[in-house]
């Protein structure tokens, strides 16, 4: 089996995880910029982080033969401080030309505040000005439904944004339809407790189809499972999905979306 891990916070993981993922068939990993678990105090901390994402982490993954790509932003969890966000967003263009940067992400909302919305709009403007793909984080738990609606409103309000170049992540049963109806891609995050289980993710595929959906582990420093995607592929096989149909979801779909960025190339593609 082959699969893409389209959303993994690998700076938080050990090299054992890289070994396990490659052993399970992972062909590439994509790492959105994330909250470190504490608020960084200055833009210079982000400059170092973007260096880690674009230089150090690809080298670490390459030791296991795994292509590593990334997305850049200031995460919604740090968006309440708009001055800091402005400084960080001003840094991002100097990194956009690096060979493994796929776009702007994971932007979005966390607690659905006015400042978070303002920073989301700044990120969307940045992506539009630089013709970048967008990866969107939707809020957690009780904040997801409202936050997803607000995010869709922001994207729809910017006429420069092409919906098919935006993936809205962490969809669940109450948000997936609205994301797909707006023409975006949807991402299902496979978490042990707080997002989709493998069984529910396959339910969503059964109900809504697999045309514009992908699955990811979003593994980070919290409770998460780096092998969640291949485990969900096993769940699909247990439910009668053919190997070809599983491959479309866990490999071909991420390739289809990510290949809209010309820098996303896998080794066998030359």
């Amino acid at each position: 089996m082959r699969y893409i891990e389209p959303h993994g916070h690998m700076v938080s993981r050990t090299t054992d995880d890289y070994l396990d993922m490659v052993t399970a068939g992972c062909a590439a990993v994509c790492e959105p910029a994330f909250w470190a678990g504490f608020d960084r105090g200055s833009a210079s901390g982000f400059r170092d982080y973007f260096g880690q994402l674009t230089e150090h982490e690809p080298r670490r993954a390459a030791r296991y033969g795994l292509p590593h790509f990334c997305w850049l932003c200031i995460n919604p969890k740090e968006s309440e401080d708009t001055r800091l966000a402005e400084d960080v967003i001003a840094l991002i263009p100097e990194f956009l030309g690096r060979p493994t940067v796929l776009g702007i992400g994971e932007i979005g909302l966390n607690k659905n505040s006015r400042n978070e919305l303002r920073v989301l709009e700044m990120h969307v403007d940045l992506a539009a000005r630089h013709d970048q793909l967008i990866l969107v984080h939707t809020p957690h738990l009780e904040d997801k439904l409202k936050g997803t609606r607000l995010i869709l409103d922001v994207l729809r309000a910017d006429s420069r944004i092409r919906p098919e170049r935006v993936l809205i992540d962490h969809v669940e049963e109450h948000t997936v339809r609205m994301v797909l109806d707006h023409g975006h891609w949807g991402g299902m995050t496979l978490y042990p407790i707080s997002k989709c289980t493998p069984a529910r993710a396959v339910d969503i595929l059964d109900v809504y189809g697999s045309d514009r959906l992908w699955m990811n582990s979003a593994c980070d420093w919290g409770e998460s499972v780096p092998l969640a995607v291949p485990r969900t592929a096993l769940e699909m096989r247990r439910r009668g999905w053919s190997a070809a149909a599983v491959d479309r979801v866990v490999y071909q779909n991420p390739v289809r979306f990510l290949s809209q960025c010309p820098k996303f190339r896998l080794p066998e593609e030359g």
Partner: protein, 86 residues
């Protein structure tokens, strides 16, 4: 999948989770002190389990969600607790 296949694959897992929910509610009731909005939201969401149709999952998620539409003035923190405090 046939219903028999679904039952064969998921019944024991769902049975386990059903009993865990019952045990959780018993635990809450045995405990002392005041409960909070999470208990109310949980019990409200439970009513969807006995409903007909295939929209139970989305209905439960909506019941646990913030139903308002306007952004809040300031983020009250970073975390989420799983139910809307109102």
């Amino acid at each position: 999948m046939t219903r028999q296949q679904v039952l064969d694959l998921y019944f024991m897992d769902a049975r386990c989770k059903l009993i865990e929910v019952a045990a959780f509610l018993d635990r809450v009731d045995r405990a002392t002190g005041e409960a909070d909005f999470r208990t109310v939201a949980f019990r409200d969401a439970l009513r969807h389990l006995a409903s007909e149709g295939t929209g139970r999952t989305a209905a439960v998620l909506r019941t646990l969600s913030d139903p308002t539409e306007q952004p809040v003035e300031r983020a009250p923190g970073k975390g989420a607790v799983g139910a809307w405090p109102g």
